[in-house]
């Protein structure tokens, strides 16, 4: 009995001591970003310029990031959610409003990327990159036109198709192919989309995340659904020749996404976090970051620098899709109660 008491006492003491250990003097920013989504030398530059240390961690989907934030117990100062995740975080009261006096570089951001639907008054978020999802394919292995969602359902490529293991992108592709919105909340439409994904399963070689780019580049599969930036990375690769790989945005329209920088409620150093956001919007920094990562920057000056240096990238679907396609594309919105319905339908597809 005595032993148990000792254990309980020590446990309680430790539990009390743990949260207190965070009260140190030195400012360390906890930054939580997507994997392979920043030029890491910029982190050193920020530390050099400001003397603020950075603790950099990564995640691979909005869902994993949200799960971690919602579970609590962690403290992050800057996070990079996409559009619909921003709305969800606003709805769940997980974000702090930004003080734009500390982010003067916000003036460099193109007006097109301000006050978007996911954050209508632009109180909580600053755009980081934008892009699309589309079809990455090997020109030597695909003869049919790939600029349509149908290619992902074409039986001729059975066993050659890689599907994205992401509930929004997979359901979105199926919905858009049927002519519905990628944000559909119509049970009948969602059933049809699930049915389509279950039929597609027979043709799909595998469901992957970031691996899709490497598998296609290696010739392991012919067609895959992936982010536009994955192609730009291959395009800008200086060591290997990937001219046989191409990326197209389906003509039926696709998902146009925005990744943003936000400050979650668990933040400990708000002012320093705003300094970091401001730093990332600096035109030179934004330029260097955009060239490394491969997405078009929302910072106008940075984009112009790319246009001077590399005008041909503006011809690429992956970097600069046609306005026409953009106009029929959907930005994901927070699904609210329908999130769990999407999730369950998708789990059933994977498990089937």
């Amino acid at each position: 009995m005595k032993k148990i008491l000792v254990v309980i006492t020590i446990t309680a003491l430790l539990a009390m001591a743990l949260p207190m250990s965070g009260c140190g003097e030195k400012v360390v920013l906890n930054i939580f970003n997507w994997g392979e989504y920043i030029d890491e030398s910029l982190l050193d530059l920020f530390e050099e310029r400001t003397g603020i240390s950075i603790n950099y961690k990564t995640y691979d989907t909005n869902e994993t990031m949200l799960a971690k934030l919602e579970a609590g117990g962690s403290s992050y100062d800057v996070v990079f959610p996409s559009d619909y995740a921003v709305s969800e975080m606003i709805r769940k009261d997980l974000l702090l409003p930004l003080d734009f006096d500390n982010i003067p570089n916000f003036k460099y951001v193109d007006e097109r990327f301000k006050n978007l639907e996911y954050d209508p008054e632009n109180k909580y978020s600053v755009p980081y990159f934008w892009g699309t999802i589309g079809i990455l394919y090997n020109k030597n292995m695909v003869d049919d036109p790939a600029d349509t969602w149908e290619i992902l359902w074409n039986p001729e490529y059975a066993g050659q198709i890689l599907m994205k293991k992401d509930v929004r992108d997979a359901m979105g592709a199926a919905l858009k192919r049927l002519g519905y919105s990628m944000n559909s909340r119509n049970d009948e439409e969602l059933q049809q989309a699930q049915q389509a994904l279950m039929e597609q399963r027979k043709l799909v070689a595998g469901y992957y995340g970031d691996e899709i780019k490497d598998l296609i580049a290696n010739g392991d599969a012919a067609i895959g659904l992936t982010y536009s930036g994955d192609f730009m990375e291959l395009y800008w690769d200086e060591e290997a020749d990937f001219s046989h790989i191409d990326f197209v945005v389906p003509r039926e329209g696709t998902n146009m996404w925005f990744d943003t920088m936000v400050i979650p409620k668990s933040c400990r150093y708000k002012k320093e976090a705003e300094m970091f956001i401001n730093f990332m919007l600096d035109p030179d920094v934004a330029y260097q970051n955009a060239v490394t990562i491969g997405y078009p920057s929302p910072v106008t000056e940075a984009l112009e620098m790319i246009r001077e240096e590399d005008p041909e990238v503006f011809e690429l679907d992956a970097f600069w899709p046609d306005d026409e396609i953009i106009s029929i594309s959907d930005v994901y919105v927070d699904l609210g109660d329908y999130k769990s319905i999407y999730n369950q339908l998708w789990t059933e597809v994977l498990v089937d």
Binding site: V6, V7, T64, Y207, Y208, L350
Partner: protein, 282 residues
């Protein structure tokens, strides 16, 4: 001696914080509904268990058990002879063979699985090698075969090492006695070596089956996510769907099944030991 007990307190505290409390939480979440961050508001519910019993999820559980059983059997079939070879080798060769077994385990398991991806993938190392020799290509990744191969590769050392340990401790005098009494090699193996090695086999099976049945990642990377195992399903619930209640009931079901299989294995182990004593007395 009594004072030394104090040294065990840190471990007890560690267990309390990181094993007992999480277990209680998992159990609590599995039987409730509601906001996971607000423990006071949780309501009793068996809905997640009802969902587990839906055919599609039962299929995942059955699949995991079949794959885990298969990989355990393959590990046993491959591992036992290797353990015998290692145990019989002369000391110099033996330590080198052991090194070969252990060195790959220094590398992270995830990295090794990625390495297998580039070996088995359709245009990977293995197929290029086969093509070079004019042999037909193997279409195994992504697929169940690749998952099974990945599991066997990752867990094989856990089968070999315990069996090797037991085999190397068998008293040579038993074997000499057997041959003095006219037993041939086959008979010696089945009457002496095999029965004496049962404890090693049992712990080998346990050490392979447990991680195999609860594994995730391998099926995602080598199977292309098309044969999700119960471990993948649990990861999906916690990391993607944020449905901790369903994830917790899956975990509880998995734990119960593991406990049952461990009970069966320890029963076999005990019977084996009694048998062994019986032999010794006779």
């Amino acid at each position: 001696m009594k004072r030394m007990r104090i040294l065990a307190y840190p471990y007890s505290v560690w267990m309390a914080i990181f094993i007992v409390v999480p277990l209680i939480l998992v159990f609590l979440y599995s039987f409730t509904e509601g906001d996971i961050r607000n423990l006071a508001q949780l309501k009793f519910s068996t809905r997640s268990y009802e969902r587990v019993s839906e055919p599609i999820y039962l299929k995942v559980i059955v699949n995991s058990f079949i794959l885990a059983t298969l990989s355990t059997l393959f590990c046993l079939a491959l591992g036992y002879p290797v353990a015998m070879i290692v145990a019989r080798a002369n000391p110099k060769v033996r330590s080198m063979l052991l090194m070969f077994l252990i060195v790959p385990m220094w590398m992270n398991f995830l990295l090794r699985t990625y390495a297998w991806m580039s070996i088995l993938s359709p245009n990977g190392f293995l197929n290029r090698l086969l093509e070079f020799f004019g042999l037909p290509r193997l279409e195994i990744m992504p697929g169940k075969t690749a998952v099974l191969l990945g599991m066997i590769y990752n867990f094989l050392p856990f089968m070999i090492l315990p069996i090797y340990t037991v085999l190397s401790k068998i008293d040579k005098q038993y074997l000499e006695a057997a041959s003095d009494l006219g037993a041939n090699k086959t008979r010696t193996f089945f009457k002496i070596i095999l029965p004496l090695s049962i404890p090693g086999v049992v712990s080998g099976i346990t050490m392979v089956f447990l991680p195999a049945v609860s594994t995730f990642v391998i099926s995602g990377l080598l199977g292309g996510g098309k044969t999700p195992l119960i471990g993948d399903l649990i990861e999906q619930q916690f990391m993607w769907e944020g449905n901790w209640h369903f994830g917790s009931s899956l975990s509880i079901i998995l734990m119960v099944m593991i406990l049952i299989s461990m009970a069966i294995m320890s029963r076999i182990d005990r019977d084996g030991k009694q048998d062994e004593n019986g032999h010794a007395k006779a």
